[in-house]
């Protein structure tokens, strides 16, 4: 299983619909400071149901909606869709491609969709449990945080080990 495609609309600095196609090996994302690279990484974490705005450098969920520039008005919602290649049937679904979508409105409420069918956060969580996908500590390393695994307190370190058990 791997990420085939990521589509962002109104998520942070991605005002226009933007589609990223990934290869299943190693994809590098490059560009100048402040152009939106880390925002792409955070979109992947967010779409799977991340509940803590602080982990994605926000203070509340509406911080993730494009808030405008000198030339553009702010938008009223953000949407991210991720398409996973499920050919080896890791996900409990008969489709070859599985899409998960998350939408947030300016009141901070989120909507979730699996293969374009509206669902609850719980359904997204059930879809990805035990697959290793996820918002777990060890499959997302934020900028500047690589040494945290070593320097955080021993019990925090244990939590990462538990996720792998």
């Amino acid at each position: 299983m791997f990420i085939k495609q990521l589509e962002l609309v109104g998520f942070k600095s991605f005002a226009e619909k933007t589609t990223v196609n990934f290869s299943d090996g190693m994809t590098c994302i490059v560009g100048p400071n402040g152009c939106g690279k880390s925002n792409i990484g955070e979109a992947i974490r967010w779409v799977f149901g991340e509940q803590s705005a602080k982990k994605l450098r926000g203070s509340s969920m509406d911080d993730f909606i494009f808030n405008g520039t000198n030339q553009r008005k702010p938008l009223n919602r953000a949407e991210v869709t991720i398409t996973l290649n499920n050919e080896n049937n890791i996900l409990p679904s008969e489709y070859n491609d599985v899409t998960v979508k998350r939408r947030v409105f300016s009141d901070g409420q989120s909507e979730y969709f699996i293969n374009n069918q509206k669902c609850r956060l719980k359904d997204v969580r059930n879809l990805i449990t035990d697959t290793g996908i996820g918002i777990s500590a060890y499959s997302f390393i934020e900028q500047g945080m690589i040494s945290e695994i070593l320097s955080s307190d021993p019990t925090e370190r244990r939590r990462i080990f538990e996720e792998a058990a």
């Binding site: 990934f22 994809t27 880390s38 992947i44």
Partner: protein, 160 residues
């Protein structure tokens, strides 16, 4: 459950003992459980001890910025070896590393690309050169991100 945790812990420990010397080209590393007086495994902490080649065993706080990052990478991949994640997003984890350590990191990464998809945000040209595919992000319109196609060749000239 306790057995499962202990079993995973010992697998990670063995991986760490193997991967660390590979990344540091020598040296030793180990992890151990910190048990409190009632020996409760499920509430124990985890201690990390490393010894870069030629140096004495020491507190991880005395390590340099680059040594700490490389030790953390060794631990991260030790966990991956036990339970590979289908994909992994790494945001500029190569920033503290010198070029010798970047190429060691890339070598280690290539051992895992058949089980895990990696999405790596980086400014380092050695990391970029080993990518399977490359995406450029830009803000041609100030404040609005968009994608640009970038070829690896372009990067060799201008590293911005």
């Amino acid at each position: 459950s306790e057995e499962k945790f202990i079993d995973t812990f010992y697998k990670i420990k063995n991986n760490f003992k193997e991967i660390f010397p590979e990344l540091f080209n020598g040296g030793k590393a180990d992890i151990s459980l910190i048990l409190d007086e009632d020996e409760d495994v499920l509430n124990s902490g985890i201690d990390v001890n490393v010894k870069p080649p030629g140096k004495r065993l020491q507190n991880i706080n005395l390590l340099s910025g680059g040594e700490k990052a490389l030790s953390a990478i060794a631990l991260l991949f030790s966990i991956f070896k036990v339970k590979p994640a289908p994909f992994c997003v790494l945001d500029e984890i190569d920033a503290p590393l010198d070029d010798t350590n970047v190429s060691r990191f890339i070598n280690l990464l290539s051992d895992f690309t058949d089980t895990t998809q990696f999405i790596i945000i980086t400014h380092n040209k050695y990391t970029i050169e080993s990518a399977d595919s490359l995406y450029g992000v830009t803000m041609e319109e100030p404040g609005v991100s968009s994608l640009v196609s970038v070829s690896i060749k372009e990067f060799e000239q201008d590293r911005s």
